[in-house]
């Protein structure tokens, strides 16, 4: 590995800026280098990245293990899908609406749920997913039930006289990338802000935080809503990309996927979540070489993660990042 290659040199140059530049170029040029399959895989990673950021705020920063992410992801997907199909609204309207609706629905759900202790809270949030699915199946007049919403139009923009649609995988990649970059920056700003420090305080010791004047209850509620809003925005990307939203969107599979991304990347780190979503998609797609053994191998990967990478992969990356940061 490059780490050992450069070790013998007495003075090392700070390689961080060049590396970052390379990463940015790779991110921008990815659809041009790789096949559409690669672009598609990256889009899937980007779609999961935002809900994972939301979950990271909740699990990684505030210390609340939640499985409700799929429910808010589904609500966001349905919101965007319904708006796009019925009202043919521009993409940014759907995006904002999906985030707002998910965030707003999280308020009445969060108030009772956040009163619960650890395991009960986890189960309660899982319950939201199960109940969400039942509602989407049975509220047929709104959701078309099991028929689902299909043929969701491609995202289009209407900026003054200018109006254009995003069609094709490559352009969708750039759209998703832009949304994710903004989302990541927002998440980054959140955790860097004093509020982010208070979230960490809640995670570390809720009573102590409370005794130092931190209104823990309100923070938890706000973070729960924010994480739902992130999931909702991810749902909007999902709806527009796959063009289909069905009650299947409400399944624990997505909640656990997001949890795997957060923990695999490294909870409590923004870079961890970014890394985690790429890693997760890379892994599941790489395992496609053996379809029958794929999920078995995936299961083993989870065990490896739990036992050997308790803090996820981000600490390793951090170490690498610091190591290339020049000589001491």
């Amino acid at each position: 590995m490059s780490l050992t290659d450069t070790a013998p040199q007495a003075r090392r140059r700070d390689l961080r800026i060049p590396l970052a530049a390379v990463l940015i170029v790779v991110a921008l040029a990815a659809p041009l280098i790789g096949t559409r399959y690669v672009t598609h895989s990256l889009i899937i990673a980007l779609i999961f990245m935002l809900p994972a950021h939301g979950l990271n705020l909740l699990v990684g920063y505030t210390g609340l293990l939640s499985l409700a992410q799929a429910a808010f992801f589904g609500i966001g997907a349905y919101t965007a899908g319904l708006l796009a199909v019925h009202l043919n609204t521009p993409f940014y309207v759907n995006l904002i609406a999906a985030g707002l609706v998910s965030g707003a629905i999280a308020l009445p759900l969060g108030i009772p749920a956040l009163r619960l202790r650890s395991t009960s809270f986890v189960m309660c949030t899982l319950g939201f997913v199960i109940i969400g699915q039942a509602i989407s199946k049975n509220w047929i007049s709104l959701t078309r039930g099991d028929m689902g919403l299909s043929g969701i139009p491609k995202p289009y923009f209407e900026l003054g006289p200018l109006s254009f649609a995003i069609s094709g995988t490559t352009s969708f990649y750039y759209l998703a990338l832009a949304v994710c970059v903004i989302g990541t920056l927002i998440a980054w700003a959140l955790v860097r802000s004093p509020a982010g420090r208070n979230m960490v305080a809640i995670r570390e010791n809720e009573t102590l935080a409370e005794s130092l004047g931190v209104p823990t209850w309100r923070y938890k509620l706000i973070v729960f809503m924010l994480s739902a809003a992130f999931a909702g925005v991810g749902g909007c990307l999902y709806a527009h990309y796959l063009t289909v939203v069905s009650p299947l969107t409400f399944q624990m599979y997505y909640s656990t996927t997001m949890l795997i991304i957060v923990l695999g990347g490294g909870a409590g780190m923004i870079s961890g979540t970014v890394l985690g979503s790429l890693l997760f998609v890379g892994l599941t797609e790489a395992l496609r070489v053996a379809p029958e053994l794929r999920m078995i191998a995936y299961g083993f990967c989870l065990l490896v993660l739990v036992f050997w990478f308790k803090k996820g992969l981000a600490p390793l990356i951090n170490r690498f990042w610091n190591a290339i940061g020049g000589s001491k």
């Binding site: 293990l65 395991t119 309660c124 039942a134 949890l259 029958e292 995936y298 065990l303 739990v306």
Partner: protein
Amino acid sequence: MFSTIIEQVINGIVTGSVYAIVAVGMTMIFGVLRAINFAHGEYYMLGTFGAWFAIDYLGLSYEASIVVAVLSTTVVAYVVGQLVMRRMVGAPAESGVLATLGIALILQNTVIFVFGGGYKFFAGGYIEPVSILGFSLAQQRIIILVVCLLVFIGLELMVTYSRLGMAMRAVSQNIQCCGVVGIDVPQVVLRTFVLGAALASLSGVLTAPVNVSVYGGMGELITFKTLPIIIMGGLGNVRGTFYAAMILGIAESLVATYIGLQFRDTVGFATLILMLMWRPHGLFSTQARF
């Protein structure tokens, strides 16, 4: 009208007793490990598969297949317990979720890989209906009810009087002190885990004749049914789990009758959430573990 309600309550109790046997294992594992076992339903599936294999491939009788199924699941559970569950003592909740999900994926898809994904037909058991007090039930369901009662009586006795039972109680009360008084915590966790898995597999074999279809993914659904039960029962509380399973069984049965079958799977979690709003610490005190 009234007799319909009675009949539905009986249906609920029969369903509840299946849930109870599976859930009690899960709740005991939670008691000693503080981890939700998302793979628990897979042992139920393994039990069913073991019995199906014994009947279809080895040509054994149903009774013999029960033994084969429970023993083979015990072996699998022992291996999983040694390699994974033992090491999860004191691990954070997130790790527990991921590790057990990983195990669930491995067990489920290994079975699919070995036996094929298609559903199998379970041939054994006593499916002839008998009439009791005007209600018609398959004989197998009466067996399930009786076994459920025996299992719970046995567990109560074991937990109160046996050495393992006392150690389990000790671990669930205060894990730090156990090391001091010479209890080998990982060993207790392992034994509890194997016992819980064996009970789940027993439940799988017993219900197989009435559930007929056997396939690799069947465990997941059972896991989701039992999750709300163990919370409602007060995590780690054996008796509470029994009552919670019965309550859920009856509630499901009534909902299926009067509201619609499509809402049945929602009943568990809806009841759970309503209950948690009313009593955030469960219906049955978590203090009175085991």
